[in-house]
Amino acid sequence: MAHLNTQPNLPSPDEFYADLLAAHEGLSDDESAALNNRLILLLANHIGRHDVLCDALGAAK
């Protein structure tokens, strides 16, 4: 994991977590999955580094 930051990096972890849950509130499983898919793509593009993304794919497995 030379590239992926796996140290705490979120300024307000509880707030982010609450926002994430709020975004999914009231959604069906399929809608939630679709939201997650879009979120992953948006974040991946923002990161924009293949090595970091590969590390993240590995870390998430």
Binding site: A33, A34, N37, R38, I40, L41, L42, N45
Partner: protein
């Protein structure tokens, strides 16, 4: 015993009894090409133009019916130009640049290929395969009239192949019975189901895609449909899981419906059922005639090796891809381009036989690139799991709103020639500030030069391209001819030549292979450097 496997669009070479059939002993030919499709005909043309007698054996008497391959890339047109048959293709073909991608009833986005200026040929033309083949054939006929040693024998079906140490014996069926013919070299261009490959018991492994596609080529009576590539994912008209609409010459449009794996082919091929799908898509008031239809499934696979001693495989016989990206016929023509000069040198005795192993290296590399790209397109177009469909739909939804997602939309990555970066034929790259796109291994990009285009001057022989510098006019090294082409960037006010070949260098010399790939480059000509690079490029070091 001679059952045609398909109807003909053009009957061009009716069966005639050859004198080989009455010869007391099998007649030996330098090269026998099995298959008279685009790859076989182009191979004959390439070799014949080098003065090498080429005999084509085809089990039919002309070109098969059906548009089949319709998208021909710039590189293919460049190669056709080198063979002298590019102009009629360009004249007949439909040039297109704009593509639109839809999901359901929404346009997701529109793209424009925006071809770079300063090239003789456009990025793509659409042209029915029978025309493509016919233009090659017509060039062969014109060459034959001037003594070029090409012979095409119709209704000559290869039924047995016996590979010997330094030649191959073929048993050929004809309406007058079988005969044997011998070949120093056999080039198998007999298609994806290659009988020659089967007779040699060679494998053809890869991935099967469980989906089928219904093609309907329709002639519109009157239409406002544009010259654009339209691709629908999950179209609102429900005629297929995806649908492609693309214009061809003669007011014909290609419509390609993805119809799923478990289909009753006979039922789907009934005109009334094809019309149901078309009417749902076009509306009831569009008048059209169905000129050709077909159902296809596909695999992405290749042979382990394309050269097996004296038998060399090219085109679909060697590798097969999904149609997304137009990488079938286009890559087959690149095979021919790669093989032709190498076989020419080997037959002339000016290069060792193992030069042909680099055909294997380079074109296996090309096939893998094509298979990778077309497999990825297929995975996007026909997602195989809930997760992959989920991501596909997310990409399409985001692409409508956000530019970043558009490069992820994959309805086919269109064929581009490969750069042989790792080829063992490559010499040094001594042009440190030269452009990346013309690095060693690259196919030469076109550029305007005084009185025409650069590519018209490259290829067929080895060429020493001298830009803003001097080199001897003609050089012979070890029996191999090198022709010098001198150009000056001051003759090219657009700056394209300098941009594509010099970068920030003031001058350059390029050694360019007969297939127009760069094999070495540097700042100045020296005899020693040229000699070393040329011998390497011919497998002689």
């Amino acid at each position: 015993m001679f059952q045609d496997r398909y109807p003909l669009a053009f009957k061009l070479y009716p069966y005639e009894k050859s004198k080989d059939q009455d010869a007391p002993k099998a007649v030996r030919h330098p090269v026998v090409i099995v298959g008279g499709g685009p790859v076989g005909l182009a191979t004959a043309l390439d070799l014949g133009r080098q003065g090498i007698p080429a005999l084509v054996l085809d089990d039919h008497e002309g070109i098969g019916m059906g548009s089949r391959a319709i998208c021909f890339a710039k590189r293919t047109l460049d190669i056709a130009n080198r063979y002298g048959c590019g102009a009629p293709m360009l004249e007949k073909g439909v040039v297109w640049n704009v593509g639109k991608v839809f999901q359901d009833d929404r346009q997701v986005f529109e793209f424009n290929l925006l071809p770079e200026s300063g090239h003789r040929n456009p990025a793509f033309i659409n042209l029915q395969q029978p025309y493509f083949e016919k233009f090659i054939f017509e060039k062969i006929r014109a060459e034959q009239d001037t003594g070029t040693p090409i012979e095409i024998r119709g209704k000559n079906r290869v039924d047995a192949v016996d590979v010997r140490q330094d030649h191959v014996v073929l048993t050929v069926a004809t309406p007058d019975g079988p005969y044997d013919v011998e070949a120093d070299w056999v080039i198998a261009c007999d298609g994806a189901s290659s009988p020659v490959r089967g007779m040699l018991d060679l494998g053809f492994e890869g991935r099967v895609f469980q989906d089928s596609f219904l093609i309907a080529d329709i002639k519109m009576k009157s239409t406002d449909f544009p010259t654009e590539r339209w691709f629908w994912f999950e179209p609102y008209f429900k005629s297929g899981a995806s649908t492609l609409l693309h214009k061809q010459p003669d007011d014909v449009w290609r419509v390609d419906f993805q119809i799923g794996w478990d289909v009753d082919r006979a039922e789907e091929m009934k005109e009334e059922n094809i019309r149901k799908r078309l009417d749902a898509m076009l509306g009831d008031d569009v008048d059209y005639e169905i000129v050709w239809s077909s159902i296809y499934t596909f695999q992405c696979r290749r042979m382990n090796k394309f050269r097996h001693g004296r038998v060399v495989f090219a085109g679909d016989a060697a590798h097969q891809v999904s149609p997304f990206g137009a990488r079938g016929a286009n890559s087959g023509i690149q095979d021919v381009d790669n093989l032709g000069w190498k076989l020419g040198l080997v037959i002339a005795g000016t290069a060792p036989e193992n030069l042909l192993d680099t055909y294997d290296d380079e074109r296996v590399f090309g096939a893998d690139e094509n298979i990778l790209n077309s497999t990825r397109s297929t995975d996007f177009i026909t997602p195989k799991s809930k997760a992959s469909k989920g991501f596909r739909d997310a990409v399409l939804m985001l692409a409508e709103k956000y530019e970043f997602a558009r490069p992820l939309v994959n309805s086919g990555r269109l064929s581009v020639p490969c750069t042989y970066d790792a080829s063992r034929l490559n010499g040094p790259d001594h042009l440190p500030n030269g452009p990346d796109r013309t690095r060693v291994g690259s196919p030469c990009p076109d550029a305007p030069v005084a009185g025409g285009f650069l590519l018209d001057h490259l290829g067929t022989d080895f060429v020493l391209l001298a830009i803003n510098t001097e080199a001897p006019e003609q050089i012979d090294i070890d029996g191999i001819k090198v022709r010098t082409v001198s150009v000056r960037t001051s003759d090219n006010p657009t700056g394209a030549l300098a941009e594509r070949y010099l970068g920030s260098e003031a001058q350059a010399v390029y050694l360019i292979r007969p297939d127009q790939h760069v094999t070495a480059r540097g700042r100045v000509y020296t005899e020693d450097a040229l000699r070393a690079a040329l011998l390497k490029a011919c497998g002689k070091d």
